[in-house]
């Protein structure tokens, strides 16, 4: 496996202006030091609660934000192929209302092939539309004539048509009806198949990520706390936050119901958090070292790394 995107020490701070006239500007650390590789052909899931920086990470990878610090290296780019594309959550804002479906799907092709003439585009576009489940007679309609699920199909067609290296999906099913969600997820899984296209799949819904992704990164307050293969994470979550997150997934299984990990934030001074581990104040297995030093990456097994002192010290 070769990596197509390599992220090193990535930080993104947003200024938060104080209400006071000469108030100090504080910083919202949306992304606070992330290392991550995106492999060719993998479906990488990014999960975390809202405000954990998932969407910001996606935008940084797409180049929609400039990083405050750190680097993102893009490799494996060949011409005639688009670097990246994106599918957003809200299918009502993500399509230009004054373009027909044909124009929407045509544009990525034009920018890749560098031509404005529609030579041979028609068949390509028709194929893609059929692939995502739209028909020929819908080709010259406008977005407002479609339902949310259909619009999301159009957005997906636009994202895949120019064969990008990777696609960022930012909560692509969260805005849809549950029945439609399943259709879209199946479509995404089908489209991925065994191709060398990479997915970065951002979601707060662990079930969705489990269904689509081969590898999962768990984010908490601007940091990645654990990365692991899909099955490994569900079988053997190492970081206490991952455990908490997974235990919150509703399962129709009475024996597991009781196992939801209840925890209360232990009264810890928040100041300690700024130096040590971000999860310190809530952590059920914290040690003294967690207060002083931020945890380093610890590879528990091949392809399963966690940022947790307790796990590292236990295994030594």
């Amino acid at each position: 496996m070769d990596s197509i995107v390599s992220i090193r020490g990535l930080k993104k701070y947003f200024p938060v202006k104080s209400e006071a006239l000469f108030g100090k500007t504080t910083w919202n650390k949306a992304i606070d030091g992330i290392d991550l590789e995106i492999q060719r052909g993998e479906a990488l899931g990014v999960v975390g609660e809202s405000g954990s920086g998932k969407t910001t990470l996606g935008k940084l990878i797409l180049g929609l934000h400039a990083p405050t610090e750190g680097t993102i290296d893009y490799r494996g780019h060949d011409t005639g192929r688009m670097q990246s594309s994106v599918v957003f959550q809200d299918p009502f804002s993500s399509l230009n209302p004054r373009q027909t479906v044909f124009d929407i799907v045509k544009e990525p092709l034009e920018s890749v092939r560098g031509t404005r003439r529609g030579q041979g585009f028609r068949q390509t576009i028709l194929d893609i539309l059929n692939l995502v489940g739209l028909s020929e007679e819908q080709m010259f309609r406008y977005p407002h004539e479609f339902s949310g699920g259909q619009r999301q199909r159009i957005a997906i067609a636009r994202a895949i048509v120019a064969k990008p290296l990777f696609i960022v999906f930012d909560e692509p099913t969260s805005g849809l009806d549950v029945s439609v969600q399943a259709q879209i997820l199946n479509l995404l899984k089908e489209l991925k198949g065994n191709s060398d296209l990479s997915y970065v799949f951002i979601s707060h819904n662990i079930g969705v990520v489990k269904y689509i992704c081969s590898r999962i990164a768990v984010m908490y307050r601007g940091k990645i706390v654990e990365t692991s293969g899909n099955q490994e994470l569900f079988d053997n979550p190492l970081h206490p936050y991952s455990q908490h997150l997974l235990s919150a997934v509703p399962v129709i299984d009475e024996t597991r119901m009781s196992k939801i990990i209840e925890f209360e934030a232990k009264a810890a001074d928040e100041a300690a958090v700024s130096n040590g581990c971000i999860y310190y104040s809530k952590c059920p297995i914290r040690r003294d070292i967690c207060r002083e030093k931020p945890p380093q990456r610890f590879d528990a097994t091949e392809g399963h790394s966690v940022y947790c002192w307790a796990r590292e010290l236990d295994q030594r």
Binding site: L62, G63, L64, S85, F88, S94, S111
Partner: protein, 333 residues
């Protein structure tokens, strides 16, 4: 679309009927006799009676109201009491000057306001935005007669540029085809005339258009900011489309709709509210004609001016509505 157009035109007739009726009532209600205004306050009762008889002012109001429409349907707008020429002819003489001035002002508002708005939106809260917002605030809040006087003072009196009027002297007047000097001089290839007309129209057009520049800039800025926050813009950027192409292909047309509304209203306001600027700049247009007609209580002329301005205003708004359809396929008639 055709059905919609027919409906709009039928509606237009009702609007025009309403406006002219209102104007007729207002003129009738104003206790001012054109005879006094024209013949002077020293004139004898016989003179006034003769005057009233000559201009049909002795007839009952209902008859005069009926006659106005009866003649209008035959294309006769009556005869101006002040100039003693047919009102229709006066309209043909004066309207092109106003139309030209208002059009140049609207074009200026659009050509300056839209790019300024785009720049301000792209550089939001940075210095280009602050400067632009300040300028547009001045544009919106400056009364245009005052601004016109300042322009005249600086560029004509102090700097010795071109003076008021449409042309420097009659020698520069182009051969009359449409009455729009800029077009007439271009068509006849009369370059010296074209340059002279252009130099003359810049000052009043800018004085008139400054308000529009301010408003268009503001509308464009806020509309553009709104559009740029949409996901299809981000998606286009994420695909690697350049900022320029994102703006020309996606953002511009979608943010032009509110601007277009403003432009339509502005155009109408310029055509109607051009009076002050035309008087300040001695511009021989409809505004000047209306001003003099009102001073002399020239009833047929006032009716004519109101009618023509109403027609133009309605037509401009009709065109704007048609353009909406082009800009936004969601809008259906």
């Amino acid at each position: 679309m055709a059905k919609w157009l027919i409906r709009r035109f039928l509606l237009l007739i009702f609007v025009l009927w309403g406006i002219t009726t209102l104007t007729f009532i207002i003129i009738a209600a104003v206790p001012r006799n054109p005879a006094i205004a024209m013949a002077g306050s020293q004139s004898s009762p016989e003179q006034i009676e003769k005057f009233n008889k000559r201009w049909g002012l002795d007839k009952p109001l209902a008859v005069r109201y009926y006659e106005f429409y009866a003649y209008l349907l035959q294309g006769d707008m009556g005869t101006s009491i002040r100039t003693e020429r047919p009102v229709a002819l006066e309209m043909r003489n004066f309207f092109p000057a106003t139309f030209e001035l208002a059009t140049v002002s609207v074009v200026l508002s659009f050509l300056i306001g839209v790019p300024l708005g785009i720049v301000a939106a792209l550089k939001r809260n940075k210095w280009p935005d602050q400067v632009t917002r300040f300028v547009s605030l001045i544009g919106v809040s400056t009364p245009n007669f005052w601004f016109g006087l300042i322009i005249l003072l600086v560029f004509y009196y102090l700097l010795g540029g071109v003076g008021p009027g449409r042309v420097t002297s009659a020698a520069y007047e182009p051969t009359r085809i449409t009455g729009l000097y800029l077009i007439d001089s271009l068509v006849t290839g009369n370059w010296s005339s074209f340059v002279d007309c252009l130099r003359h129209i810049i000052m009043p057009a800018f004085a008139l258009g400054f308000f529009g520049i301010g408003i268009v800039t503001r509308m464009m800025r806020s509309s553009m900011i709104d559009t740029l926050s949409k996901d299809y813009i981000k998606a286009a950027r994420a695909r690697g489309l350049s900022l320029f192409r994102v703006i020309t292909n996606h953002a511009l047309r979608n943010s032009l709709i509110p601007v277009l509304t403003v432009i339509g209203v502005l155009y109408g306001a310029y055509l109607g509210g051009v009076i002050v600027i035309e008087v300040v700049f001695s511009w021989p247009g409809l505004g000047n004609f209306a001003y003099n007609s009102i001073l002399k209580s020239d009833h047929p002329a006032i009716m004519g001016v109101v009618l023509v301005i109403s027609i133009i205003y309605s037509l401009v708004n009709l065109v704007v509505d048609v353009l909406y359809r082009y800009l936004d396929p969601r809008i259906k008639f």
